[in-house]
Amino acid sequence: MPENGFSILVKDLLPHDCFPDGGLPRPIVILLGPRGSGRTYRLSTLEQTLGADIVHTRIDLAAVGDAGPLAVALAVARGFSTRWPHRRPVRFHRLEMVELAVTLDLGGVLSGALTGRMRGAFWKMARTSAEDAVSGLLQGVAKNPQQAADLTNAVHRAVRTGFPPGLTGAAGRAVGAGPAAARRRKWRMALDWIRSIKPLQGVDPFDRLVQLGNLPASDQEAIAMAALAEDIRENHAKLASADRVGCQWCHHDYQNRARHLGHHWVLLADNVDTEAGIGFLEKLHGLRDDAVNDVKRFPLLVIGTAGSWLPADFTGGWRPLWETDADDGPPVPTCATAYEAWKARGKPGYLPVRLDPVDHGEMAALVTAEARARA
């Protein structure tokens, strides 16, 4: 990527444990530019540059319709779950578990024997395939044949489409890879995690999963986001070993350090100023404030784009251009000045930045491409 204000900002924010800024929690960067100003172009260029070196994914929040944060979180997880060269596979056990409990919509289902069956089914899932396991789980729990059929379809749909590609077709194949003991350990960690989630009650994680299925949607979404965050944190630590050598994105003083946790993962989110985007940002931001997660170590750098000025709650106290009163906060910086401005401010949260104009060389390339297309 040609060096410009945006690339420099990304480079400054990308390192995960070699901060020249002392390790401030990374902000949620929102790239502001009017329609047609090259926001998507910038994001595409960055995506190409990150390549296989930096774990990243991209989502267009204008294309997800009215999907809620859970659906967006699943899409994000799916994006991260491609096979990264020289790295171990990415797994989202917690999110899968939450997604399963939510998708099954267990409200109204007889649940007397469900906990025990769920327990058995999970361990079976860890050994064989998710589809078989979940199908077995449903036997005898539905009130009537129609509900059984609906639930079965829901499960299969969930397994086929809901799980990240690395696990689809499903979860069984991916989960089935590797020693059984390791697989069980992963699931046990996920179940341990469910024990820590409020407002779920009870010691038995399977009891908690049943409760999760019956929670209001907003609570389910909050738990799904927490699952996503915890899974990212765990996967990041696991995959970071590949970052230890040749840390070209890191501050040069750290480039030769024998061991560090490398770079943040990057979520590139187009059009966060849509309804789905706002909802997702809200949950993501809330999650970062959650004491359960140590924000300093949350290894996800979010770079969103917006073609309109966001509501006040999503601008982190930065002042829009047309406001001149300094009491309204510091003015929204440009990409070139954003890092220093953010560092000086010393606050996590949102960092809206103004898109630098596409420079001469890039414009010239666009003109040439246009001329070529015309020919």
């Binding site: 009017p34 047609g36 251009l321 047309w322 596409v358 890039e362 414009m363």
Partner: protein, 858 residues
């Protein structure tokens, strides 16, 4: 040029490019009608860009339409007028709010951070959007119930005047009225207002510049069929003729130039010899050569007329326009009289003297606080080029682990031997003692990634200079000469970035080191031109400079845009031993011309970096010799080296498809290599061998250790070389000189390959011609004992039968231009293995070699 223009018009908005690229009819310099934007296409684009705005509700409950936005555009692009006038209608308020929400309102700082102190802080409309909306407003003819451009701004002017009149004097903004006048095309009234403000002693300069810039943002109602020069002359005339004094005339011209320069539909004119202009990050437009010259000139004049404490802001303002490097006198179009120039020049000289005085005081303080220098005697560390620059008196090197350290050691050894030899020869001598003088070989000794020269090329040149100095010292007794020569190396850093420091060090050591002249210089860059000027002029000792491979036509001129044959404009004390770019271009054109048959199609690839004097003048010269079917531009920028590749990638399809018979590459050899690297992975539409012809810098590609890129792209390269190893046959004097040099190379243990690119021969000749000059008259031997600089003065005599037979050919200097007359110029083919393959052709600018016998005088 189209790319530049579209980039300027698009103002960083890629989606505008599509429409613009389709609409540019002919991008002639100085024209304003090149983007023939169809109204429906423009409306369609705006409807798409403004979709977020058009979705909002106007004050009357209906959705805002595009015509509402066009009508409101006059106020939206100047929001500071809205609050003043109270004109804003509900629908305008909705448009403003919609523009803000959808991020079309930008701050000036976004596009011009350095201008920020001068420009109004209020957000303004995006440049392209503002221009496009104004364009549509100007197309209204009336009669359809929609306000026309004239009606809109007449109302705005009236309301602004009325609103300002209601304010107390210290809260008024006269520049807003000036803005409205200017939008109506009334320059005189606008200038009158700003002149009055300039004359108010309590208005600080920074505030006045802010007023000026705000007013100059007014839209321009002059029909786009009127070119920029005509528009300037027509606009400025009433104001200049009716002005009461020089200040008002100057403000009129300054305001008009700024106003027209800010018009994005203008295709900027190139600075003479300055190449393709570029968008400068500090300015939102590409500087037009003539307009920026006017701006600088008038701002300089006003600087002199201002007595305010912060008038330095005018100087800072002028610096913003340095990008186009216009000459101070290049652009006095529509000038009322030339009488102001000398007066202004004196004022600037005074300012310069004052600045120099301060600099000297500061410089005197530095050693007290400065840490110990990492550099040896005669050198100082330059952080810009990250190396020691100056004169290497102790052969201590220019960087740690200097790759030239073996040569530096050899020079020290040679110099020590000279001292020992002189001491031995002078022992017991009471008269006519032998003595030594120093020849400084100055060039870029520490190339970096942004350099257009390799360390190998530096080495080759140095070896030539060393070998020739050794030959001269060995030959001195044969000429009964008492002068012995020491070589001292000097470095001005990568791209001559540290030339000021280097020159200061050389001049400081001129007496103590008995410097006779400076040879070398290396490449033709703006910075090397500056170095030549500083060495040969200014207060203190003047040194003679002999360029070894500087070939740009203008490098020997004080004012590159002035006359090359005007003796007043030729730099005294500068000579060179290679032919000019004009000569090279003539040779290249001659090579391309078939003896019969149709004319070949020629494409020129040109470096647009105006700082690169070599490339610019090569392109200019070639344009004069050959009909060029099309020109492809690229632009080198030391701060952004990646852009070159991007430019080549952008242009390679067009290049391939044009399938020229010849391609003239008017750029550096390193750029040519990058071009070939970009092309090697690209399959051209036509399966043919592309014949590339380039200038002498192409010989930097001759390096058997670094073969050229090969791949799908088939090509051949011919360069007009400075000299070659196979140039001479027989026993002509140049042949003898070459063989002597080659013999010394061998004796010194230098590789014969190092002579292949010819740099060794021309650098040897730059030293050789100086040593030769000492043999032309016995008197110089006496004169140089007390004044080593006298040797340089003898170069005037290298003519009329006193030609110097150098290894690169006969050299005799033109009495006026100091350029060599009819210098031999071999053509070499550079193979993909990096070897030079002779074509057997030597080109002469005069068509053939001259008569160099003793009786001939050219």
């Amino acid at each position: 040029m189209i790319e530049d223009f579209v980039a300027q018009c698009g103002a960083g908005l890629p989606s505008a490019v599509t429409l613009l690229a389709h609409s540019v009819v002919e991008a002639g310099p100085g024209r304003r009608d090149c983007a023939a934007l169809p109204a429906d296409g423009l409306r369609k684009l705006l409807a798409d860009l403004l979709s977020g705005v058009l979705e909002t509700q106007g004050g009357n409950g209906r959705a805002i339409g595009l015509d509402d936005v066009i009508t409101a555009s006059a106020e939206v692009r100047a929001p500071w007028l809205i609050n003043t006038t109270g004109l804003m209608k509900p629908v305008t308020a909705s448009v403003v709010e919609g523009m803000r929400r959808n991020l079309w309102g930008t701050a000036p700082a976004e596009v011009a951070p350095s201008v920020e102190p001068f420009l109004p802080a209020a957000p303004v409309l995006h440049r392209f959007l503002a221009a496009a909306l104004t364009d549509l407003l100007a197309r209204r003819r009336g009669g359809d119930g929609l306000l026309t451009y004239e009606e809109t701004y007449r109302r705005l002017l009236g309301a602004t005047v009325a609103a300002e009149a209601k304010l107390p004097p210290d809260e008024q903004h006269p520049e807003r009225i000036a803005y409205c006048h200017l939008a109506m095309g009334n320059v005189k009234n606008a200038a009158n207002i700003l002149t009055a403000q300039f004359n108010v002693a309590t208005v600080p300069t920074s505030q006045w510049i802010r007023m000026l810039c705000l007013a100059a943002q007014a839209p321009c109602p002059i029909p786009r069929s009127t070119g920029i020069a005509e528009a300037f002359a027509d606009s400025v005339e009433p104001g200049v003729l009716g002005a009461v004094d020089d200040v008002e005339r100057s403000v009129t011209r300054l305001l008009t130039a700024l106003w027209l320069a800010d018009d994005i539909w203008t295709v900027p004119r190139r600075a003479p010899g300055g190449g393709v202009p570029r968008l400068d990050e500090r300015l939102p437009w590409i500087p037009d050569a003539i307009l920026t010259a006017v701006i600088k000139d008038e701002a300089g004049f006003l600087f002199g007329r201002s007595a305010r404490g912060d008038r330095q802001n005018l100087a800072r303002f002028m610096e913003l326009f340095d990008n186009g490097r216009p000459s101070p006198s290049a652009g006095r179009i529509g000038a009322p009289s030339a009488s102001g120039w000398w007066r202004r020049r004196r004022l600037w000289q005074q300012a310069g003297i004052l600045t120099s005085g301060i600099a000297l005081v500061v410089a005197g303080m530095v050693p007290v606080f400065a840490p110990k220098s990492p550099c040896g005697a005669g050198l100082r560390y330059n952080s810009k080029v990250k190396a020691c620059v100056g004169l290497d008196i102790e052969s201590s090197g220019f960087v740690s682990h200097d790759p030239l350290s073996d040569l530096e050691k050899q020079i020290k050894k040679d110099n020590d031997q000279i001292d020992a030899q002189i001491a031995e020869d002078n022992a017991g001598k009471s008269t006519d003692p032998e003595y030594s003088v120093s020849l400084v070989f100055l060039q870029e000794m520490t190339p970096n990634a942004s350099s257009t020269i390799t360390i190998q090329a530096v080495r080759n040149a140095l070896e030539g200079a060393i070998a020739q100095t050794e030959l001269a010292d060995a030959d001195a007794p044969n000429f009964h000469s008492r002068i012995r020569f020491k070589l001292l190396l000097a470095n001005f850093g990568a791209n001559a970035g540290g030339e000021q420091d280097a020159v200061a060090e050389i001049r400081a050591a001129a007496k103590s080191q008995r410097i006779a002249a400076v040879a070398g210089i290396g490449q033709s860059l703006d910075a090397t031109h500056d170095a030549i000027l500083r060495l040969t002029s200014g207060p203190g000792e003047h040194l003679t400079v002999v360029g070894s491979d500087v070939s740009a036509d203008t490098i020997g001129l004080k004012n590159p845009n002035g006359s090359p044959t005007d003796p007043q404009n030729v730099i005294d004390g500068f000579y060179r031993v290679v032919g000019t770019n004009d000569d090279e271009a003539a040779a290249a054109a001659h090579y391309m011309q078939p003896s019969e048959g149709p004319q070949p199609t020629v494409v020129m690839i040109q470096d647009g970096n105006g700082d690169n004097t070599y490339s610019a003048s090569l392109a200019q010269a070639f344009e004069g010799h050959e009909h060029i079917a099309s020109t492809l531009g690229y632009s080198t920028d030391p701060d952004h080296p990646d852009r070159v590749d991007a430019d080549f990638e952008a242009g390679r399809t067009i290049f391939c498809d044009s399938a020229p018979d010849f391609t003239y590459f008017a750029g550096r050899g390193t750029d040519l290599k990058r071009f070939l690297t970009v092309m090697k992975v690209f399959s051209c539409k036509y399966d043919k061998t592309y014949k590339i012809v380039t200038g002498d810098d192409g010989t930097n590609l001759i390096d058997p250790n670094n073969p050229l890129p090969t791949g799908a792209f088939s090509y051949s390269i011919v360069a007009t070389a400075l000299a070659t190893t196979t140039e001479w046959t027989g026993d002509s004097p140049p042949a003898k000189a070459y063989h002597s040099l080659a013999g010394q190379f061998s004796a010194d243990g230098f590789s014969a390959n190092d002579m292949q690119d010819g740099l060794a021969m021309v650098s040897a000749d730059s030293v050789g011609v100086l040593t030769y000059a000492t043999t032309l008259s016995p008197s110089v031997q006496d004169a140089a004992l007390n004044d080593p600089g006298a040797i340089g003065g003898m170069l005037q005599s290298v003519r009329c039968g006193n030609s110097y037979p150098g290894a690169s050919g006969y050299i005799e200097f033109n009495q006026t231009t100091h350029d060599p007359i009819d210098k031999a110029m071999p053509l070499v083919q550079i193979s993909t293995s990096g070897a030079a393959e002779p074509t057997g052709q030597i080109a002469y600018p005069a068509g053939g070699p001259l008569d160099y016998s003793q009786s001939a005088c050219h």
